[in-house]
Subunit: 140 residues, 4 copies
Amino acid sequence: MTENPLEQARQAVAAMYADDQASQSLGIVIEDVAPGHATARMRVAAAMVNGHAIAHGGYIFLLADTAFAFACNTYGPTVAGAAEIVFVQPATEGEELVAEAKERVRFGQSGIYDVTVRNGAGEVVAEFRGHSRRIRARAE
Amino acid sequence: MTENPLEQARQAVAAMYADDQASQSLGIVIEDVAPGHATARMRVAAAMVNGHAIAHGGYIFLLADTAFAFACNTYGPTVAGAAEIVFVQPATEGEELVAEAKERVRFGQSGIYDVTVRNGAGEVVAEFRGHSRRIRARAE
Amino acid sequence: MTENPLEQARQAVAAMYADDQASQSLGIVIEDVAPGHATARMRVAAAMVNGHAIAHGGYIFLLADTAFAFACNTYGPTVAGAAEIVFVQPATEGEELVAEAKERVRFGQSGIYDVTVRNGAGEVVAEFRGHSRRIRARAE
Amino acid sequence: MTENPLEQARQAVAAMYADDQASQSLGIVIEDVAPGHATARMRVAAAMVNGHAIAHGGYIFLLADTAFAFACNTYGPTVAGAAEIVFVQPATEGEELVAEAKERVRFGQSGIYDVTVRNGAGEVVAEFRGHSRRIRARAE
């Protein structure tokens, strides 16, 4: 195990992604990993929309929550305890969305992460705030 | 169009569900519809879990958000503006989850709905609060 | 120390209130205490309003937060970790507001409490949700 | 009325503060005003604490909410619709707290503002997110 924080963050994310059926099956790609930071990218598929070809808010949350989960796990095993989301504008089928998660503050075993979801034109689709909690690593 | 509020609520939900690829493709079933109220049911599928067979929080949100959307649309066209969720305990692959949405208050064009997600044993999996906003119906 | 939960709740609240300069100096009265439940009452004073005789939202939060704090401390030493509030309608100078806090769920060391603030006419002024965390009692 | 956005922001804040009994009576000072931005400063007084000389969370919210209100009113008449707060660490009697509000995004008549409350050592005391809504200016 390296002691380089950037390398540790990338290794933690790679191991986590390898196990994550949910992210993989939706075609979510993780990029720009650094301590307390991650970007998640997803295309709005036909199965993610309602009758007006607008993405279900649940999938927008899911993308933001994924970016958040990868960002907070760059520091070691961490769980998402809670989150809030504001839906700023709709996303349509076929659009590629990018969720960028940034650490705002860490204190004790807790952390707050801000995630902005943008469309291909760089417009804000949603603002998300996630609340994390460190957990003890499982014994192997 | 009937003037019976319960019948109107059910008709609004049926029309909305018929158009909703996202809910249908996840096997979400809507039940117990009444004005300001709806229940959504979903089984945690293999594609919804991470490597430890724990449901991705995004899918739990999506189920709660679906119950919320159907509950607030019983009054006519309404959009989800924002939501908060607290993850109380994990859900595992194969479990059936039930999200019950209840109106808390409506004011002006806005509404607040509380959604509790429970597992098959009746234990709370998540608590969700959704914020809705009435929109003008589109002219046909 | 009694083993009756209702009596324990009332004793915990009385001890907490005796020490609470903030609640006392604002004339907040605590009522209807039971395990997981408390009501806080406050009149909107001249020093709580802005130029239009509308109560500062901060004081409405403070009242709701107080009801929440007393409700969650009925179970023993507990801190408020986070909260959300929606301002439903303004309150005016001289009005008496009542905040009723009810436990929604407890899990591990955490709890969620819903607080509704109403005016004298029984109309909803604000909806608040508080997130608590049990702490170890200090050694005497 | 000037057309300079910075000058307009400052005039809007000065007019608002002149009418605001709540902020004035708590000794809150507003600084660093710019479009979408404001800083509010307050000393934790004896009447703001509980029995352990820890500031009541309601007053920390009130300070953050004040910074938020001034920041969003730099664009014209705006109301606080909702807010969330996380209490990161306690503040004690006599400490001076500074709440810095920054616009995150505006869309339609809505806005989201992030407010960080820090103590004199620059440590984070609370993280707040406020949701605003533009209103029509009243006819004079």
